[in-house]
Amino acid sequence: MRVVVIGRNWKLTLARLIVLVVACFVVFRFILLPIRVEGVSMLPTYQDGSVNFVNRLAYLRHGPQRGDVVGIRLADPDITRPSLMYLKRIIGLPGETAGFVNGTVLINGKALAEPYEKYICDWNLPPVKLGPNEYFVVGDNRSMPLQYHELGVARRSQIIGKLLL
């Protein structure tokens, strides 16, 4: 029984255990932030109470892409691991104009195909011109009136990472 639990060489087992603990600590504290989704803003893609991870290394080689679901910080940038973050989908990229006409997203005046969008809405929002480091983000659940939905322009520095699952 002892052999099964701690192995033949307890020193090696201990070293493996330490490596595993350190690796988990580094991965889940600095790279893949574990999150629990709260609220209905990203329905039906992400259910209230579901668990996911924000990949902080997703944008090392390239910037955020249209359609990515990202974590957006509310807190001061000095806080490396914020307690709360918004979960939103990127629909507008830097330099573009983004707006809504009768619920349809218009990017540079052209309708954006959104296969993930399941709810019909009638939102109208005049085009917003995005700056060089700005992204237009919105939730997938657009069944509520526009003023009850948190959407708008997020700076690149606010985007923590991309959702893993």
């Binding site: 709260e38 609220g39 209905v40 209230d48 957006i72 509310l74 807190a75 001061d76 000095d78 806080i79 914020p82 307690s83 709360l84 918004y86 939103k88 939102w123 109208n124 929002l125 005049p126 917003v128 983000v137 009136p145 526009l146 003023q147 009850y148 948190e150 959407l151 708008g152 322009v153 997020a154 606010q158």
Partner: protein, 180 residues
């Protein structure tokens, strides 16, 4: 051996002295953080809060603000609301207690910056408020300005910050002007 023991003893004594020093003479940042935690507790209330407790808690809450404190709340759902002075803050807190069943407020991710003269400070934080009967919590970035007045750190200004900005858009009769 004796020397080693003495060194260890001295280091332990120095650590104890440092800890005592920080307890007896906390830094302004530590004091502000503690006061903000107390403010969050006084803003919160349970559904079974008695009348006397209600008045005492609201009065205690007002004591954390300066006499001419400004509170500027601007949210997409509720629009803009401004309060000035302890009386208005007290009235608003009482009104909230009569309208809402219960409120649980937490101040998260507090970042305190103390001015070089140690007389004023700003705290950036995220408010996480849960109202009974509402499925979603209210999450809001807030900036709080404090000043040391009469030996106490008092709140002089509270303002909401929009995390996601949109410039001047108009919808369904409502006009929103949001700073970028």
């Amino acid at each position: 051996m004796k020397i080693t023991f003495r060194i260890v003893w001295l280091v332990a004594l120095a650590a104890l002295g440092f800890w005592l020093w920080t307890v007896l003479f906390p830094s302004p940042e530590k004091i502000i953080r503690r006061r903000l935690d107390e403010v969050a507790k006084h803003v919160s209330f349970a559904p079974d809060e008695g009348t006397l407790a209600r008045l005492a808690n609201v009065q205690s809450l007002a004591d954390y603000f300066s006499t001419n404190a400004e509170v500027n709340i601007d949210t997409r759902e509720e629009g803009q609301h401004d309060f000035v002075g302890r009386d208005q803050i007290t009235q608003t807190a009482l009104a909230a207690r009569s309208v809402l069943g219960s409120l649980n407020v937490k101040f998260l991710d507090i970042s305190v910056t103390v001015a070089s003269d140690k007389q004023s400070a700003t705290a950036d934080l995220t408010v996480d408020a849960t109202i009974s009967g509402q499925p979603d919590a209210i999450v809001q970035e807030v900036k709080i300005t404090l000043q040391e007045i009469g030996g106490q750190w008092l709140i002089t200004r509270v303002e909401t910050i929009r995390t996601l900005s949109i410039l001047n858009f108009e919808l369904a009769g409502a006009h929103f002007i949001v700073s970028a």
